[in-house]
């Protein structure tokens, strides 16, 4: 067991950090104020650096990198509250294509994602369900889809959608392009992003894959990978929120002294640090479980749940305290910390909140005497 990064991983992390080094809250506000809610230029640069194809096979235009590399990117994006839809497009939508698609579909879609030529969105959620991603409010018939998906993250900007739908033999995933039979209504989300209502009315759809892969198993693994990536994004957010808070405490004066003279505040910052460190441990472990070839699907699913449960708790703690310890300034759009809290809140409620993870962990509580992270 080894938590250290190798030199290539460090180089990747530094490169991503450098790419976003001048990205500040002022820029972010300008970018998220206009559709599509992220910077197309930056997206292009990410493609040039190979970040958008990071997890895909080289044959499909990708870099063939693993979950650890992906996690480094997500963490750096979190650190600066970058609005680029990395997890949504690369891990979730692209991940479904990589897991389920035919060779041809993979080359087409993943190649286009990797090159930054196509933004792809996963249309999984439906208004009447919570986290049941095998929802069946959209139905396939004669190669077309009918039904409504909402909220679909990045749906308004997407060049292509990966849509879950009910088919005769259960669950199917389809590629749909905006156009005939597809009505997309885009709107802003509270974290500065975009989501859409996607109404399908006999929309032409191409089924992903040749039926040789179990769609439920593929979905479970892709969702686990996306959860873990979100957890790393959240970790970056928390570390930044903590850093901003400690900086503020050493600079802001009240009652004639800087705030770090108030022990009640510094102790709370210490508790934030504790939350962040505990989160880093479990989130990095989850990436290692995902990366390990010996992990069973159940172990991967469970590791993702465990990381996300911790992120839910720590994200609330750190996000709320970061605002409180700052005071009013952190409530403003002009200051970055509030946006970190908003994004942490969004991540908490994507792919299942803490209670949802806990509910599943309770179900397997009797399967083990103690948890053992060592293998």
């Amino acid at each position: 067991m080894d938590f250290t990064l190798d030199s290539e991983q460090k180089a990747l992390r530094d490169a991503v950090r450098s790419l976003f080094s001048s990205f500040d809250n002022e820029q972010r506000r300008a970018v998220v104020a206009e559709d599509p809610g992220f910077s197309e230029e930056q997206w292009g640069r990410m493609a040039e650096m190979g970040l958008l194809g990071l997890p895909y096979a080289e044959a499909d235009g990708g870099m063939g990198a693993g979950p650890v590399e992906l996690s480094l990117v997500a963490e750096e994006l979190g650190r600066v509250v970058a609005p680029e839809p990395y997890v949504e497009t690369v891990v979730l939508a692209g991940g479904l294509v990589a897991a389920l698609g035919t060779a041809e579909q993979k080359q087409d879609v993943l190649g286009a994602i990797s090159a930054g030529e196509r933004v792809v969105a996963a249309a999984l959620l439906e208004p009447a369900t919570r986290w049941d991603l095998a929802a069946d409010g959209v139905v396939e018939k004669d190669g077309t889809l009918t039904g409504t998906k909402e909220p679909v993250l990045v749906g308004g900007r997407a060049d292509q959608l990966v849509v879950s739908a009910r088919v005769d033999d259960g669950l199917g995933f389809f590629l749909v392009s905006p156009g005939e039979g597809v009505t997309v209504t885009s709107y802003a989300t509270f974290d500065g992003g975009r989501a859409a209502r996607v109404v399908l009315d006999g929309a032409p759809a191409q089924r992903l894959g040749d039926g040789s892969v179990d769609p439920h198993a593929a979905l479970a693994r892709v969702v686990a990978a996306a959860k873990i990536a979100y957890c790393h994004e959240a970790l970056g957010l928390m570390e930044s929120a903590l850093r901003r808070t400690t900086e503020y405490l050493t600079q802001r004066k009240q009652f004639g002294v800087t705030l770090n003279r108030f022990q009640a505040l510094t102790f709370r910052a210490a508790d934030m640090y504790t939350s962040v460190e505990l989160t880093r441990s479990i989130v990095e472990w989850a990436s290692m479980v995902l990366a390990d070839a010996g992990s069973t699907p159940e172990q991967v699913t469970e590791a993702a749940r465990r990381a996300k449960l911790q992120v839910s708790k720590a994200g609330r703690h750190v996000g709320q305290e970061a605002i409180q310890l700052h005071g009013g300034i952190a409530m403003t759009d002009e200051y970055a910390v509030g946006h970190m809290t908003a994004r942490l809140t969004a991540i908490d409620h994507l792919l299942g909140d803490g209670r949802e993870q806990s509910r599943h962990l309770v179900a397997s509580l009797g399967d083990h005497e103690v948890l053992d992270p060592l293998r």
Binding site: T185, T189, F190, Q320, G328, D333, L350
Partner: protein, 386 residues
């Protein structure tokens, strides 16, 4: 000790309940229930409806529209108002500057300002906080200098809630920079917002709303008779005002109503069957009950302008529960909370769409109006002697 209300109080409650649910426009109450921001016109309409019935300023002196209610009756009035989703009278008018003018102002000033203040013909803004004086209010820097009969004001205020609607602003200014203590040498001056040199700029908050403002004063000249009370008496007025603010600051009724609708939504999405979520709701209900009973205990032993020391508990726990309920509402909404910007054609219900912005907005509750750290300081210092 006695549980039951007296017959008079029971009748009083019925009267309040009937008025609030029957006489205040249902569009306004529906907007409050849904957690929407109200327009200025809606807020004015609601307060004028109350004022016409003598229900806008019950705590004021009777000569200026107040009612000689018992503390319990005032509590019932507020509870029923909140439970009925009636927007409360604008606090800057009825809870802050109104009582200050009634207590410290000249007869002339009372006659000029109190009636339009009660009726919201004048919309007041609060000019207290400054960029470099947050919790440390007394370190304020905005200066007012005598020039003949006039005052000339320079400085900057911030966190001015709903300042964009304001007609007037009451401003704490430093009038004696040489006073030995920073609390001395502060005065309260009334300023028409349209005066030359006053600039109001809304601050966008993290929930996307613009409910607070920065206000700049550049050589703003106002007549001398807009000084409230006496020169350098401002800190006394500020303390008087903030004491009043704290008593009414635990919006128990509003939080109860929010929790009731949350419970309904939880049932709709099937979450009331989740024992963990249901127990969070049940325990929050209990916490709210304890808070409401504490408000009843405290309110009964407060005397005018001198709040019961435990009123800090109301502010502290009141915001803790406000925030807990808004947090729980996002949990009930789940991923649907992401549809915060969706329009009315969305299938995602309205309550789920407003949940996350509401949650983010309410992070302010433990910061503004005397942060929870300030409340703990008051409890530790004034009550526990630490």
């Amino acid at each position: 000790m006695q549980l039951a209300l007296s017959k008079d109080d029971t009748d009083f409650r019925e009267e309040m309940r009937a008025f609030f649910t029957e006489k205040v426009a249902s569009e306004i109450r529906d907007a409050v229930r849904a957690g929407h921001h109200l327009t200025k016109a809606q807020i004015v309409e609601a307060q004028q409806t109350l004022n016409a019935a003598g229900l806008a300023v019950p705590s004021w002196p009777a000569a200026w529209g107040g009612r000689d209610w018992t503390p319990l009756q005032r509590h019932i009035w507020q509870q029923e108002m909140e439970l009925a989703c009636v927007p409360p009278p604008l606090a800057f008018n009825t809870g802050m500057i109104g009582p200050v003018i009634a207590h410290f102002g000249s007869e002339e000033m009372k006659q000029r300002f109190l009636p339009p203040t009660a009726n919201l013909d004048i919309w007041w803004a609060q000019g207290f906080s400054e960029p470099d004086a947050g919790s440390d209010l007394a370190s304020l820097k905005t200066r007012a200098v005598r020039d003949g009969d006039d005052w000339v004001i320079d400085g900057q205020k911030t966190w001015t809630t709903l300042g964009q609607h304001a007609d007037w602003i009451f401003v704490l200014c430093r009038t004696d920079p040489d006073a030995p203590k920073k609390q001395q040498g502060i005065s309260m001056i009334l300023v028409p917002i349209e005066t030359e040199g006053v600039t109001v700029r809304p601050i966008k908050l993290i929930d996307g709303g613009k409910e607070v403002n920065e206000v700049w004063f550049e050589s703003v000249r106002v007549p001398g008779d807009l000084l409230v009370g006496e020169e350098n008496q401002g800190w006394t007025m500020a303390k008087f005002l903030l004491g009043n603010e704290r008593v009414g600051v635990a919006p128990v009724g509003q939080t109860k109503r929010r929790l009731a609708t949350l419970k309904e939504h939880a049932r709709e999405v099937g979450l009331l069957d989740d024992a963990v979520l249901a127990s969070r709701i049940a325990e929050l209900e209990n916490d709210l009950l304890a808070l409401e009973l504490t408000a009843l205990r405290v309110v009964a032993s407060s005397s005018e302008g001198k709040p019961h020391p435990a009123s800090s508990v109301l502010k502290l726990q009141g915001t803790v529960l406000q925030q807990a309920v808004t947090e729980l509402l996002v949990d009930v909404a789940g991923p649907l909370a992401l549809a915060s910007g969706a329009g009315e054609d969305s299938e995602v219900p309205d309550w789920a769409r407003v949940s996350a912005p509401l949650y983010l907005n309410y992070r302010k509750a433990s910061i503004y109006g005397g942060s929870n750290e300030i409340q703990r300081q008051i409890i530790a210092g004034s009550i526990l002697g630490l």
